[in-house]
């Protein structure tokens, strides 16, 4: 198996890693050139869809007082992905919680900031309970019209595509790399895998523990997506001494403390995996077992215990069986 060209860079407030095999057709660019091209795509994606930049397309949409706003294909797709995730999660992964997220202190990018200690935050957190959807279901008021190239929503209803952006970006880049033997697109831990080479020899992906940083399990992917959501990175102390993080309970507008600190989901796409990982984390241990039952996943409880769910087998270290050599 030929080696994968591997490059990493910083974008979307996260580490992005591209691993690309050899082209299937001689007309395709070599992996080094493809990686440079896709890096440009990811950086453009991030710039146009950032909630934290007033000059982004998303920022312009949120600031526009009109009911109907012209939107590029990328913006329409990102908004549609957010609405799809809300539908898929019965309203729990809600793209309209911008006011709530800002109210708890997440008004600007936290890239480069040191997160608050999770164990201290857990000790001070309120009683654990699963999140519930917001009864208003504001996300149902969003309409995407691809024929006319517009997005419609009540003026003032702001949209955040950040909850699904990395998964969508990983899927988009994976689609653009479909002419290569193998590829891994890792957008901040939301990963898309594909190529005929992966079907023949699946890629091993390690799952990191949110407290220790250790590998708690190695997944084997022949294609599709895997994503992780957790509380350990975007977490901060508020001025009143309480702790907050970026995963919001839509029913209360407050950070959710569900009994889980990390969830990893497998799915046919990175977008769906990201949605399922967030859904699992928001709904706590019982909800996670339901959310991850079909495709499988790994959750980490508040006390650090690791639980494998669904079609994920604790049958040893895959890297030790030679899969690691594929990378």
């Amino acid at each position: 198996m030929s080696p994968l060209y591997d490059t990493s860079f910083r974008s979307m407030g996260s580490d992005v890693r591209l691993m690309i095999g050899t082209p299937l057709l001689p007309t395709l660019a070599p992996p080094e050139a493809a990686a440079a091209r896709e890096r440009g795509y990811v950086e453009d994606f991030a710039r146009r869809l950032s909630r934290f930049r007033s000059d982004s397309e998303l920022g312009a949409l949120n600031a526009d007082p009109a009911y109907e706003v012209r939107a590029s294909l990328l913006l329409r797709t990102a908004v549609a992905a957010g609405v799809w995730a809300a539908e898929r999660s019965c309203g729990l992964v809600d793209p309209t919680l911008v006011d709530e997220v800002e109210a708890i202190g997440y008004e600007s990018s936290q890239d480069g900031c040191t997160p608050a200690p999770l164990t201290v935050a857990l000790a001070a957190a309120p009683a654990r309970r699963p999140a519930r959807p917001c009864s208003e279901e504001r996300w149902r008021q969003i309409e995407i019209d691809h024929e006319r190239g517009v997005v419609r929503r009540p003026p003032g209803l702001r949209i955040d595509t950040g909850g699904t952006g990395k998964g969508l970006a990983a899927d988009a880049v994976a689609h653009r790399l479909r002419g290569y033997t193998r590829f891994v697109v890792d957008c901040g831990g939301d990963i898309a895998v594909g190529g005929v080479g992966c079907e023949l020899e699946p890629i091993a992906i390690e799952v990191e523990h949110p407290l220790t940083g250790e590998c708690v399990h190695t997944l084997r992917l022949a294609g599709g997506g895997v994503a992780t959501s957790g509380l350990n990175v975007r977490i901060w102390k508020r001025s009143d001494g309480t702790f907050a993080h970026h995963l919001i309970d839509p029913s209360s507008g407050e950070p959710v403390w569900s009994g889980l600190i990390g969830a990893t989901a497998l799915a046919p796409s990175a977008l769906e995996a990201e949605t399922l990982a967030k859904l699992a984390l928001l709904t706590g241990p019982e909800g996670a077992r339901r959310a991850l039952a079909d495709h499988g996943g790994v959750v980490v409880h508040d006390d650090g215990d690791v639980e494998l769910i669904g079609p994920v087998h604790a049958d040893g270290d895959l890297a030790a069986r030679g899969l690691g050599s594929a990378a």
């Binding site: 490059t7 936290q110 480069g112 831990g189 949110p210 990175v233 006390d303 215990d305 690791v306 990378a327």
Partner: protein, 108 residues
């Protein structure tokens, strides 16, 4: 001319009794073996499939529950030290190369 017509004449000669017996015996053995193998395959005893069939049943699913204790690293910074960057950003290398480590899914 003479040789060619003589050759044609030989090819039209009826087969000898011994040759016929050999043909019929071979055919009979072939059909018998074919019937035997068809019977075995129909009853699920195909030796070529036996190894795969034995490997098909998955082991009962086990749920692994591991307790992992947190490791704390306490770093004392001087009062005027700049804030530390996030842990994740320290692990990134901007340069490209060929993959030497596995991809990792983590919180970002």
């Amino acid at each position: 001319m003479t040789d060619r017509s003589a050759g044609r004449g030989r090819s039209r000669e009826p087969l000898s009794r011994a040759a016929l017996c050999a043909i019929w015996a071979t055919l009979a053995i072939f059909l018998a073996l074919l019937a035997l193998m068809a019977t075995r395959v129909a009853s699920g005893e195909d030796p070529a499939l036996r190894a795969r069939a034995a490997a098909t049943p998955l082991p009962p699913r086990r749920v692994l529950v591991r307790r992992i204790y947190e490791r704390r690293v306490i770093v004392h910074l001087p009062p005027d030290a700049p804030p530390q960057p996030a842990q994740a950003s320290q692990q990134v290398s901007a340069s490209g190369g060929y993959a030497s480590s596995l991809p990792v899914t983590r919180t970002s």
